[in-house]
């Protein structure tokens, strides 16, 4: 356990980032791997947990902040992005990580996702994509495949799945990666890269739900995933869209990165023509204008 009040211990371990609350996930859930990767990524960065905020919506995956010793906001279904926006803009010094499921991000949260992406806040959004609604006990999600059978689509889903990576890229994301809970080192590494990226980083993680999704399993993913080719240039948008579009294999790694876009906080702070000390002057100025 971290001794929060006294500051950081001399030698950091991942225990620094554990809250002591026992994860409520099913045995074998992919989200354990993600949680561990987050611990390791934070360790790699050496952050003080008091400076980190983990934000989420609602879903099994969105429970993650409870297992962190950092600040956190487990909000409501679909609204992780605007909550995170408020926090990051509210205090740009904070290290902000957002988490959620595929339903949270791409069903009820789809509109916010698109807009958060185009704003390019400097935060990292880790989506635990299990192609199912876990917490509500197994319904079709926006990333479920056509034909996928659940209680809400007993004859198989007829909706074509969204491709989170392509959606992110066309909405203007500046860092887009895919990872797999079954490749924990790569995952932790990508989270570090996402954090290091100055701007909005989207990491879509295949994080299987063994309880309700019997199709998109660890085994199935293991057979399909392949690392991004070594010669891939992540700044090449068209190439990135191509990799993102591929179904065989499913590429993991950094798919796209654009380092030339200012962050939202930077742009906002450029609008500031003064600080809190000006408040009285501004009000007096307005009052004078109305005289």
């Amino acid at each position: 356990m971290s001794d929060l009040a006294e500051g950081r211990p001399a030698e950091l371990t991942i225990d620094e980032y554990k809250s002591g609350e026992k994860p409520t996930w099913c045995p074998g859930c992919g989200d354990f791997g993600v949680l561990n990767a987050v611990y390791n990524a934070l360790l790699a960065k050496g952050y003080n947990s008091k400076d980190v905020v983990c934000i989420s919506g609602i879903g099994c995956s969105s429970r993650l902040p409870y297992f962190m010793s950092t600040y956190g906001f487990h909000s409501i279904h679909g609204r992780a992005m605007p909550i995170a926006t408020g926090i990051k803009v509210g205090n740009p010094e904070l290290k902000v990580l957002a988490f959620g499921g595929d339903g949270d991000a791409f069903a009820i949260g789809a509109g916010h996702f698109v807009h958060a992406v185009r704003r390019n806040l400097d935060l990292t959004y880790v989506i635990m994509d299990n192609a199912i609604y876990g917490l509500t006990k197994g319904q079709t999600s926006p990333t479920s495949m056509v034909g996928f059978q659940t209680k809400t689509t007993p004859s198989g889903s007829i909706d074509r799945p969204l491709n989170p990576l392509m959606l992110a890229i066309t909405a203007g994301a500046t860092f887009v990666a895919r990872a797999f809970s079954g490749k924990p080192k790569e995952l932790a590494d990508l989270i570090v890269k996402g954090i290091d990226h100055k701007g909005f980083a989207v990491i879509d993680v295949f994080s299987p739900c063994p309880t309700f999704n019997k199709v998109n399993t660890f085994k199935a993913y293991r057979e399909e995933v392949a690392s991004v080719p070594a010669n891939h240039d992540p700044s090449d948008k068209v190439a990135a869209l191509g990799l993102a579009n591929s179904e065989h294999p499913l590429y993991t790694g950094v798919i796209y990165e654009d380092t030339g876009v200012p962050t939202y906080e930077e742009s906002l702070s450029k609008l500031h023509v003064g600080g809190e000390e000006n408040r009285r002057k501004v009000i007096d100025g307005m009052l004078a204008r109305y005289s």
Partner: protein, 584 residues
């Protein structure tokens, strides 16, 4: 002829023709002359064009309502004549721009042609000056000393150079001259100029409210445009960045309120502004605000509903939603402003209550009030008290129990208010959540946790109610007839009470500023002890009346109007008189 003390001037014409700027200039000019002034205007349904009116009521005493009848109508065109003469009082004065049309002589009012367009275009060669000519016309009628309008024009155009000032001065003078030559017997419009009130400013309800949020320390705004709430956003978009604050135009209202909650969590004083449709959309996230105990202010500039309804029209129809909307037991505070000046102070109260009680506060205004301009006393910023949230003090505090999972963010206290932390504070780590939770914020679903935390959230309200801003009162405290009302309707009620008093009927009126929870200590005596209590609201079902009935008595009498327009004072006067008559 008796001396008159106030007068209503209405300028009407095609939207975009400068109706609004004429009205605003006139209001500012008369305020400089020491007059009290209150305006009323409506915008057409069309985006551009369509009929618009701007009404200026001025007087030698404080005014509270827009005026029931028009004394002087300045019609820019035929349509304005057609639509507005019904509101012109018998014996009033009709001025019409003779360039456009010639109305028939009816004998019901005095009518005088005023060739505004002609004067501006041909005499002054300054077509844009038509509005200033109109200001000259109006101010000459009731006898505004010229210097006030002149100084206003100078202040306004100085930056553009002396030439511009001069041409405007000439336009003003042309209007005055025309009246002096062509409108004899102006005594009946003349009001004795009251002493100049140097400390006066003229602003709208939305400006006053926005200024109040600045004075309260607001430093984060996220919102989505909607009539009539956008004004707040637009005001802050230009002013907040000057204080290091931020304004974000969000993608929708769910995002707006969620951004505010996030910013509040991060330590900001956050607000959003919206109207009915946006309020409905914010209900879920407002519940999160209550549950996570985060200060946030939501301005609800009410318009006529339901649904998209009548976006530019007036109604007080959102009280149920503000007070009781949201699933589950979700306490929050509702504050309603009653006037332009009040909007400044209630905005401050709203923020202070949100911070002190760590919860959402809905600040209700309405279409009439947002758009109304008034000459008010300049607020004294030194008297403004700003309250900040109770912060936990890191180190050496009993509020951190590592064995129980860290900081006791939701520690049970007598008032229900627990010291809170802000990200970055060492030892204050916790997870804000919409799930039921124990004192550290961890989700817990046992009956004891849910019961005691529900009680904690409601206990805060019991204390908050004691901090309710004082209500507006008007009338005779000993009267047997009492009126309860809220929002801008109080203005109409005040004038009705005065008119009733003139007719010998004693009435007492109250408008609470805190509408939810109900400030029992302010209301009980009034509602229980009057013989007859009339609740006056611009809505169909009597929303405040129902909340009062549930608490106090079932024989409340209701007076409602729901046509998208405010009450006329006469409607209230007549209703009270007939109610009293009934008893006899």
């Amino acid at each position: 002829m008796t001396a008159i003390h106030d007068i209503v001037i209405r300028v009407a014409g095609e939207s975009g023709e400068g109706i609004q700027s004429t009205g605003i200039l006139l209001a500012q000019a008369v305020a400089r002359g020491g007059f009290h002034v209150i305006t009323y205007w409506t915008v057409p349904a069309e985006i551009k064009g369509g009929h618009a009116l701007f009404q200026v009521r001025l007087g030698d005493h404080r005014l509270y309502a827009q005026g029931d009848q028009v004394d002087i109508l300045l019609a820019f065109n035929q349509e304005a004549y057609d639509l507005n003469t019904k509101d012109l009082r018998e014996g009033g004065l009709l001025l019409y721009d003779s360039a456009d049309f010639t109305p028939p002589e009816t004998g019901r009012w005095r009518q005088v042609p005023v060739p505004l367009t002609d004067i501006a275009k041909n005499q002054l060669k300054f077509e844009l000056g038509k509005n200033v000519v109109a200001v000259g016309v109006c101010s000459a009628l009731f006898g505004l000393p010229t210097q006030h309008a002149e100084r206003l024009l100078r202040d306004r155009w100085q930056r553009k150079g002396e030439e511009v000032v001069q041409i405007n001065m000439r336009a003003l003078q042309a209007g005055i001259d025309y009246v002096e030559r062509n409108v004899p017997n102006r005594e009946e419009y003349r009001i004795e100029a009251p002493p100049i009130r140097p400390n006066t400013i003229v602003l709208s309800g939305s400006q006053s409210l926005s200024l109040g949020t600045l004075a309260a320390g607001a430093n984060f705004f996220a919102g989505y445009p909607i009539t009539p709430a956008s004004d707040v956003m637009e005001f802050l978009a230009s002013e907040l960045p000057k204080t290091g604050g931020t304004v974000i135009q969000a993608e929708d209202e769910m995002a707006s309120i969620a951004m505010c909650l996030g910013a509040s969590y991060a330590g900001r004083k956050a607000l959003t502004s919206t109207s009915g449709p946006g309020m409905s959309l914010m209900m879920e996230a407002l519940g999160l605000g209550t549950m996570a105990e985060l200060p946030v202010v939501v301005v609800d500039a009410q318009r006529a509903g339901p649904s998209t309804g009548l976006p530019t029209k007036h109604e007080q129809g959102d009280l149920y939603l503000a007070a009781l909307g949201g699933h589950g037991e979700v306490p929050r505070i509702v504050i309603a402003t009653t006037g332009v000046e009040d909007s400044f102070y209630q905005a401050i109260n709203a923020f202070n209550l949100a911070e002190k009680y760590q919860c959402p506060v809905i600040l209700m205004s309405d279409t009439v009030l947002m758009m109304r301009m008034e000459a008010i006393e300049k607020p004294d910023l030194n008297k403004v008290e700003v309250v900040d949230r109770l912060l936990f003090e890191p180190n050496g505090h009993s509020q951190v129990h590592p064995e129980e999972g860290g900081f006791l963010r939701y520690a049970q206290t007598e008032t229900g208010v627990s010291p809170m932390s802000i990200p970055g504070m060492p030892g204050g780590q916790y997870v804000a959540t919409g799930l039921e939770h124990n004192d550290t914020g961890r989700p817990r679903y046992d009956p004891r946790t849910h019961s005691t935390m529900t009680e904690k959230r409601f206990r805060k309200m019991e204390h908050a109610v004691l901090d309710a801003p004082p209500p507006d009162r008007h009338g005779d405290p000993d009267a047997e007839i009492g009126i309860v009302t809220w929002g801008s309707t109080m203005g109409n009620v005040i004038e009705a009470v005065d008119r009733l008093a003139e007719r010998g009927l004693k009435v007492d009126a109250i408008a609470p500023k805190m509408l939810w929870p109900l400030p029992d200590h302010q209301l009980r005596d009034f509602v229980m002890n009057k013989r007859k209590v009339i609740v006056v609201e611009v809505n169909y079902s009597g929303q405040l009346a129902q909340l009062l009935a549930a608490r106090y008595r079932n024989d409340l009498v209701r007076l409602n109007t729901y046509g998208g327009v405010p009450f006329k004072v006469a409607d209230i006067v007549n209703f009270v008189e007939s109610e009293v008559a009934q008893r006899v």
